[in-house]
């Protein structure tokens, strides 16, 4: 019932947007190359779906995305566990992280090309940088916020490392880590496109640059819509997964905050 209502609302708002877009086009104040009409854009989408261009670019992008993201998740979580556990080391690392974190991954691009060359590497590295910080920070804070009572209980029963890490700390910190992983997913997706726009010869970002270079504004817009929709789908899938895991962790978690 609720989901039905929600999807009706979504359809209505998207439909309204398309109508407004079409009306603006109909005023004739914009040239076709500045603002292509919905029909032209959708035909463009259909064309690149049909001839396989989209699928090819998507495959490349997704492989880069996955590589960068998984690397960031692994290093972010492992480092986060170590640093969250060792407060004194973290107090040295934290200031450096605070300086690096606000820097857009794109700013690193000149160095990335020098250090990693061209091809897939720049986009992967940019995705890695984009995803790494939120994952690291949420893991550190997750480990730091493990309820003292769990540690007391573990201590009482004589649990030692590494059991303490795997049986208590990691699961107790998991909801926060999952939050960070989710957050990082969105950020990484944003920078996937950016990374491919500056340093790649394939992928969804390149597809847009390529369309611009051949003055196909309809395909530029088509690319934008596709990236948005794919990002949304990705986000929803991860949210489903996250909710399922959190449910397993128990409602009590939220009650205890």
């Amino acid at each position: 019932m609720n989901t039905l209502k929600k999807s009706i609302k979504a359809v209505v708002s998207i439909f309204a947007l398309i109508v407004i877009w079409q009306l603006v086009v109909l005023t004739g104040r914009f040239e076709e190359s500045l603002l292509p009409s919905p029909a032209v854009v959708f035909t463009g989408i259909w064309d690149i779906v049909k001839d396989g261009t989209l699928l090819n670019h998507y495959r490349v992008s997704f492989a880069r995305f996955l590589t960068g993201y998984v690397l960031a998740a692994l290093t972010g979580v492992i480092l986060g566990l170590l640093l969250g556990w060792n407060k004194s080391v973290w107090s040295f690392i934290d200031p450096v992280i605070q300086i690096l974190r606000p820097v857009s991954p794109i700013a690193w691009f000149p160095f990335i090309v020098l250090w990693f060359g061209i091809g897939d590497a720049p986009a992967v590295v940019i995705i890695f940088i984009a995803a790494f910080f939120p994952i690291l920070l949420s893991t550190v804070s997750g480990v730091g916020n493990v309820d003292a009572i769990y540690m007391k209980v573990a201590d009482n029963f004589g649990l030692k490392q590494p059991a303490l890490l795997f049986k208590i700390i990691l699961p107790a910190a998991f909801p926060l880590i999952a939050n960070g992983l989710h957050l990082a997913l969105g950020t990484a997706w944003v920078f996937l496109v950016a990374g491919e726009m500056v340093g790649a010869q394939s992928g969804l970002g390149f597809m847009i640059i390529d369309a611009r270079n051949s003055l196909r504004s309809d395909l530029v817009l088509a690319g934008i819509i596709i990236i948005g929709v794919l990002g949304l789908i990705l986000d929803r899938l991860v949210r489903l997964l996250e909710n399922r895991i959190k449910r397993q962790w128990g409602v009590s978690l939220e009650e205890r905050n």
Partner: protein
């Protein structure tokens, strides 16, 4: 003597207020198998004393000895049950009860078998695959009991274990803990600020008063088990305790005695 607490004090040094005495020169001897209730108003040092026996905390002067050995750290031989249960929300009942057994060198199969036995003992077999969040407060406290008993400790330390339960559940949990105590022959030290609870459960009631926290008196409860909460002897002792706290006119008490 089994547990010997001699001249144990616990002082805190606070930045702004200077020295603060949480517990002042406590002397107490406890026999094996005794049921002791620590009774007193908030801030009189009940938790402090219990934590020192558990080994989570140490006296700043004096000593706590068990079997003649000074307590310096927690041990699986003395399990503490906390007011908010300390169950792991990400584990189901069975896996929660298994936690303490995982630190011991026993096979998976045996672990499961022991856990099921103790879950049966507290009457929760039908709920062994539930997560803590799906259980009522009383049931969660039973799980904590099963988990504590499963490692077969000599001493159970309980800090206001039934404080969060409603009056009815509370009484049935009191029956339950008395039954388990008789069946398993544990030494139990039980913190409460409920006078009736103390009279119902304790062999001896240790009455404590605040600022500084210390033992005011110790009252023996020579009533046969299972005690009748409405019986004359019960009420006499209850009034005696009320009198200790100055909640009752002496004249009226004289009338009962």
């Amino acid at each position: 003597m089994y547990i010997t607490i001699s001249d144990a004090s616990r002082e805190y040094y606070l930045k702004d207020k200077g020295k603060m005495t949480a517990l002042h020169k406590v002397n107490l001897e406890i026999e094996e198998g005794e049921f002791i209730c620590l009774l007193g108003p908030s801030g009189c040092g009940k938790s402090t004393l219990l934590n020192m026996i558990a080994g989570f905390d140490r006296p700043t002067s004096g000593s706590v000895k068990i079997h003649g050995e000074v307590v310096t750290k927690p041990s699986e031989n003395r399990i503490t049950i906390f007011q908010n249960y300390g169950l792991l929300p990400w584990r189901n009942v069975l896996r929660n009860v298994e936690l303490g057994l995982e630190a011991k060198n026993i096979s998976k199969k045996e672990r499961r078998q022991i856990a099921e036995e103790y879950i049966e003992l507290v009457g929760l077999s039908a709920y062994k695959h539930h997560h803590p969040a799906q259980l009522s407060g009383g049931m969660q406290q039973r799980v904590a009991l099963a988990r504590a008993l499963a490692v077969d400790p000599e001493i159970l330390l309980m800090d206001e274990p039934f404080g969060a339960l409603d009056a009815m559940t509370r009484m049935s949990m009191q029956d339950e803990i008395e039954r388990l105590w008789q069946e398993k022959k544990k030494t139990i030290i039980f913190v409460t600020h409920d006078i009736e609870e103390a009279v119902f459960l304790a062999d001896r009631i240790v009455i404590m008063t605040p600022s500084p926290g210390r033992i005011k008196s110790i009252i023996k409860v020579p009533l046969a088990r299972k005690r009748d909460r409405t019986g004359n002897d019960f009420i006499k002792i209850r009034d005696r305790v009320f009198e200790e706290f100055g909640f009752k006119d002496t004249a009226e008490v004289d009338f009962f005695i």
